[in-house]
Amino acid sequence: MLKMTDVKKVFRTDLVETHALRDFNLHVGEGDFVAVTGPSGSGKTTFLNIAGLLETFNGGTYELDGQDVSNLNDKKRSQLRNEKIGFIFQSFNLIPDLNLFDNVDVPLRYRGFNSAERKKRIESSLEMVGLAQRMKHLPSQLSGGQQQRVAIARALAGEPRFLLADEPTGNLDTQMANSVMDLLKSINAAGTTIIMVTHDGQLASQARRNIYVRDGKVSEVNDTDAATAPHLAAV
């Protein structure tokens, strides 16, 4: 479903060349819940950006849902990102000027859904995260945990195949972090593939599979379900 083979990413300035990913190999199957951990600067976020088609890469191949995405133009990448991937960010990344309804509406408009379809999806996704009653509120009127739930609702409204989460509980206290984590697990249980970058080992342990990234490479795989799901192994 997500297959990276020898993916390389190099950041260049006039003076410095930084190899963020070196021969990065990973295969994630449908329905998986993968936690990506590693020290700061190890390449976790770069991996997530490339996986989410937010950045291009310099070498190797990347297949998303069976499609080679190496040479897609911006329009095609944007479309694929919109249709297949949902994002959850550490700082929630809600648009402060828009109320909850309009925030969740953003990716649905880019998808080209009609008004009735968008309304149905927005209400249903906000209902799912328990915030349907507050859809006219601005993000600033919500707690951090609630904002992250809105971000999850926004990510799920388009029914993506993948959910990419970048430190989704990084800005939350323990209680809220657990509640968000429970929500992610239930989403995964419903069939959505999740890749989560985190520093938190305790959180990572709740995923079905752990990937440890060091120096831009997958250095360790801890596959709790490997026996039952051999396709989840790192390539």
Partner: protein, 411 residues
């Protein structure tokens, strides 16, 4: 297929703009003021251009004038004038010459009230009065459409105190239409008209056009020509040179007249082209000033729009990255900023229409300008939308190139 604008949410953009109360108010007022000034300014410019471009009816490029001023006690103006004109008409590069104190752009002359029936209760038509001999039509280069020119015997050579009035006159088509409500010029020839309810003359001919020397009553096309020459010590000659011979002829004439009679001096030698430029100097200055004001205000407005758009791009750098991450392509981001600009401009235009019409009402009341035609408001609106789009282009292109990876970068 979805059009780019169909992927943009208008209501949230309006809500966001409304939150920037002070900046938006200033920008809207700026746009509104620009519209008011552009619309009224262009209208005034077009009116001035109409004035500048209207033909006078005379052969402007080839005519020059000069003044012959007798200064001795023995100086005989009529003899001098007749001798001068006879000699001038013989010169090889001159088509014709005439003595006249008034001509288009001369800025002075008489106006008469004309009517078709005698009586003080009749409607009158104002007309500038010219006094020319039988060579006048040819010397001015007028186009005689109907009837005939004066004969030499009809021309009255008079001193200023001689009140004998001629029996015939030539009028312009404009006067003929105003008096007889017809364009059948031949039918007007032979009709009698009354001058200031004192004299009567028979229309002998109709000329296409002859502008008044100045226009105190807004009837610049109305002129009447009488076969009269008023003799004074100071005479003014209007001389029509052959094509492209103006400069050479002017020098020859000035030299000849200066030498031919020592009892007078020649002065004020000017071409009609030069006089016209002087007369229309204030109009040209007004057009220049208005163009400068319109351009300056447009640049200031463009800078305001560009500044606001640039500020929004910087302020929403992360947001743009988020939108890109959520599926917006580059065209979506570009469209977003253009839609935002169109909404701003539309708001400004709405207020600006009120300003523009208000300003026009003021100008109509204070300076007797005509009512502003809606066309000029539409031109102003078009200019402002174009200005807005151009001013937004650079910031929007910058926004378009923000990477979607900005969404995952810390603030």
């Amino acid at each position: 297929m979805n059009l780019p604008f169909s992927r943009i949410a208008f209501r949230p953009i309006i809500s966001t703009l409304l939150r920037q109360k002070y900046a938006m108010t200033m920008l809207l007022l700026q746009i509104a003021l620009t519209l008011a000034v552009i619309s009224n300014g262009l209208f005034i410019i077009s009116q001035r251009l109409d004035i500048l471009q209207r033909p006078s009816g005379i052969d402007e490029p080839n005519i020059f004038v000069l003044t012959s001023s007798g200064f001795t006690e023995n100086f005989n103006p009529q003899t001098s004038m007749q001798a001068d004109l006879a000699e001038l008409r013989q010169m090889p590069n001159i088509i014709n010459a005439v003595a006249t104190y008034s001509f288009p752009f001369s800025g002075s002359g008489d106006w008469d009230e004309l009517q078709t029936l005698a009586g003080s209760d009749q409607n009158t038509v104002p007309a500038a009065s010219y006094k020319l001999d039988e060579n006048g039509i040819d010397a001015l280069g007028l186009s005689l459409l109907a009837g005939e020119n004066f004969t030499a015997s009809e021309v009255l050579w008079q001193t200023e105190d001689n009140k004998t009035f001629p029996s015939v006159a030539i009028i312009t088509t404009s006067v003929a239409t105003d008096l007889f409500n017809t364009t059948d010029w031949a039918s007007v020839v032979g009709k009698t008209i009354y001058i200031n309810d004192i004299h009567s003359v028979v229309v002998k001919g109709i000329v296409l056009q002859l502008q008044a020397p100045w226009d105190p009553v807004g009837q610049i096309e109305n002129s009447i020509i009488y076969p009269r020459v008023v003799t004074r010590n100071s005479a003014r000659y209007l001389i029509r040179a052959k094509l492209s011979m103006l400069q050479e002829t002017t020098a020859d004439v000035e030299q000849y007249l200066g030498m031919s009679n020592q009892q007078r001096m020649i002065r004020k030698v000017e071409s009609i082209k030069t006089i016209r430029k002087q007369v229309y100097g204030p109009d040209i200055a007004a057009i220049t000033i208005l163009l400068v004001v319109i351009t300056a205000l447009s640049i200031i407005s463009a800078m305001g729009i560009a500044g606001m758009a640039s500020f929004n791009v910087i302020k929403r750098h992360k947001q743009i990255g988020i939108r890109r991450a959520l599926g917006a392509n580059k065209v979506d981001i570009l469209s977003h900023f253009f839609v935002e600009n169109i909404i701003q401009t539309t708001g400004g235009i709405f207020i600006g229409c009120i300003f523009a019409l208000g300003l026009n009402v003021f100008l109509v009341a204070q300076y007797a300008l005509p009512k502003l035609p809606l066309t000029y408001i539409f031109i102003g609106i078009f200019c402002l939308y174009l200005l807005g789009i151009l001013a937004t282009l650079k910031p929007a292109l910058k926004a378009m190139n923000i990477s979607p990876a900005e969404a995952t970068r810390s603030q």
